[in-house]
């Protein structure tokens, strides 16, 4: 119950933002929600099941392109977003069947390659996707201010649904099974956890919201190209956020998203040429000194502990 209370309070507070903030604040908040969705999603497979997936970029790009192509055919926007999410989920279920029997490094590499292949595939289908030239999306016929609000609320709703799913999963049999798999997959299998089905479910869950986020992002920026929506950093940043906030916790990923974005804005603004190195420094410090994330230090008053077995 405590987790729900925190989630609803945070989302309600954020929903008031358009009353107070300018468009810059709104843009940042939209990005925070998007990052939170990606981190939360990665947490299903990476944090709970312990499978280091690099496929987040693949789901994001797939959602973006699936929705863009559908809208190019004249489909309404909201329907296309849903389609983007479903396409990413179906793809995850399919590809998960092939690569989820791999463990550790092999799984990490296979998921990375999946993203690269998808990017190459989209590059190689210029008739459908525009190839390297990218794709334009329909422009909304509303004012700039109301458009900013519209996309902010869209991302906020998505982040809410994603976090709500996380709370449900954490308390459910699925979440328990995934934690068992993380600790000892062979033992979990022997004790009757259908590891394969659980992992596929977690992988699909890690795809569906990211796919929708990619679709919303595409409509938001109105132009997508493969290097942008299949960027490897889109797969790495969620990991960093989750590590920042706390692996396998409910609110860690969202917290990590806020911290990473704040840090990014600071660095972008002041040290543009070394922003990649700055991200590298934060990763190194994080891994060496805070391997359990910030939440582990303040865990006492957070619900993550209460919900773990």
């Amino acid at each position: 119950m405590r987790a729900w209370a925190i989630l609803i309070a945070v989302v309600a507070l954020l929903a008031l933002l358009p009353l107070a903030g300018n468009n810059y604040a709104l843009r940042l908040a939209t990005t925070v929600c998007m990052y939170a969705v990606m981190a939360q999603s990665w947490n299903f497979i990476g944090g709970l099941a312990g499978y280091p997936s690099f496929a987040t970029a693949a789901f994001f790009g797939l959602g973006a392109y699936a929705s863009a192509i559908l809208q190019g055919q004249g489909a309404p926007m909201l329907l296309s977003w849903a389609f983007g999410g479903l396409a990413a989920m179906a793809f995850a279920a399919l590809i998960g069947g092939a690569i989820l029997h791999l463990r550790g490094h092999y799984f990490a590499i296979a998921s990375l390659i999946v993203a690269e292949m998808l990017r190459e595939l989209i590059n190689g289908l210029p008739d459908l996707t525009g190839g390297g030239k990218g794709m334009n999306l329909p422009i909304l016929r509303i004012s700039v201010a109301s458009e900013a609000q519209f996309f902010f609320y869209a991302m906020l709703v998505l982040a809410f649904v994603c976090a709500a799913t996380a709370i449900v999963v954490h308390g459910s049999k699925l979440g328990f099974g995934l934690r068992c798999i993380q600790q000892n997959e062979d033992a979990a299998n022997i004790l009757g956890v259908n590891a394969y089905a659980y992992k596929t479910a977690a992988f699909s869950l890690s795809a569906v919201f990211v796919g929708v986020a990619g679709a919303i992002y595409a409509s938001w920026v109105k132009y997508i190209e493969p290097p942008d929506v299949f960027d490897i950093l889109l797969a790495v940043k969620p990991m960093v956020m989750v590590l920042l906030g706390g692996l396998g916790t409910i609110f860690g990923p969202a917290l990590g998203a806020v911290i990473l974005l704040a840090f990014e804005e600071l660095v972008w603004r002041n040290f543009l040429t070394i922003h990649a190195a700055a991200l590298g420094v934060i990763i190194v410090i994080l891994v060496l000194f805070l391997p359990n994330g910030l939440l582990s230090t303040v865990r006492g008053w957070l619900p993550a502990k209460a919900s773990s077995p």
Binding site: I99, I113, M117, G124, A276, A277, G280, I283, V284, V287
Partner: protein, 297 residues
């Protein structure tokens, strides 16, 4: 077959030879990566940037001191050995026993720093070593090959064989193999695990630096190429099977030939996709690779 068939056969022979030359260099790119992965269980994302750094050492040695890149192997190797030793001893050793996610993320972070530093120091512009006295073209039967590439491939394979002998015959090599086989048992036998970790990582970096020096006469040099080389190392390791020098050698040669033929048949822009597709299939049917087995030698 007639004359047309003979010409096609000759083209295939030429393509295969080109692929083998490329593959020898791929083997050299991958063998250090495979060593680190096999012994330390660390995927070293830094490997691509190490190779590029090795290329820059050779480039500057050639431009400013007139040293031929083949001789710069020593310089690149020594520089990268030192860098690798310090990085492992100072940073990576602290988390070397942690789960995959942690070590992977750490080397990714270190790579962001190193690659960004190279971008700032050397810019993203492509540099090239233009040899003053190229070796010309070598003709073997109907096949023509550029002499410098063949020499680079020969040196690459020689280095790989040297590493193999080092692991087999030297005291430190046996210690590295022992750590790969059983970390705890090796420690109980009096092997200084932390030192072996650092030496292994440093030798991996040395091989990357040496490969970089060899590649400097073939590929343009830029920090932007680092992910490309890393990708090759991945593919070769999985193709050949992790943790064996002969595996990396076979994997490298196989990848070189495959890429050579796919870019002839489907165009060079498809060859990377196809080798990745092949890799996925291989991971699915035989995750241990073509020559995978326990023990690193």
């Amino acid at each position: 077959m007639g004359p047309a068939g003979t010409v096609t056969n000759m083209i295939y022979l030429q393509i295969a030879a080109n692929g083998l030359v490329l593959g020898g260099l791929y083997a050299c790119i991958a063998v250090g990566f495979s060593l680190v992965w096999g012994v330390l269980n660390v995927i070293n994302i830094l490997h691509g940037s190490f190779i590029v750094l090795g290329s820059y050492v050779a480039y500057f040695a050639y431009v400013h001191l007139g040293i031929h890149p083949f001789i710069s192997i020593v310089l690149s190797g020594a520089a990268l050995y030192a860098l690798g030793y310090v990085l492992q001893r100072g940073i990576i050793n602290r988390v070397v026993a942690a789960p995959v996610l942690i070590t992977l993320t750490l080397t990714f972070g270190l790579d962001l720093i190193l690659n960004n530093a190279m971008l700032v120091a050397f810019t993203a512009d492509y540099q090239a070593v233009n040899l003053a006295h190229p070796l010309g073209t070598i003709q073997i039967g109907p096949i023509f090959l550029p002499g410098d590439r063949v020499a680079a491939m020969g040196l690459a394979l020689l280095l790989t064989v040297l590493l193999y002998r080092l692991l087999r015959d030297s005291r430190i090599g046996r210690a590295i193999v022992a750590v790969r086989m059983d970390r705890e048992a090796a420690a109980l036998m009096g092997v200084d695990i932390w030192r072996i970790n650092a030496v292994t990582f440093a030798v991996g970096a040395l091989m990357a630096g040496a490969a970089g020096a060899l590649l400097s006469i073939i590929f343009p040099i830029s920090p932007l190429n680092a992910p490309l080389f890393l990708g090759k190392a991945f593919v070769v390791c999985v193709l050949g099977g992790l943790g064996s020098v002969p595996g990396a050698m076979v994997g490298g040669l196989v990848l070189g030939v495959i890429e050579s033929f796919t870019s002839y048949w489907f165009g060079p822009e498809r060859s990377v996709t196809i080798s990745f597709a092949l890799l996925l299939v291989l991971l699915f049917v035989r995750p241990s690779g073509l020559m995978g087995r326990r023990g690193y030698e």
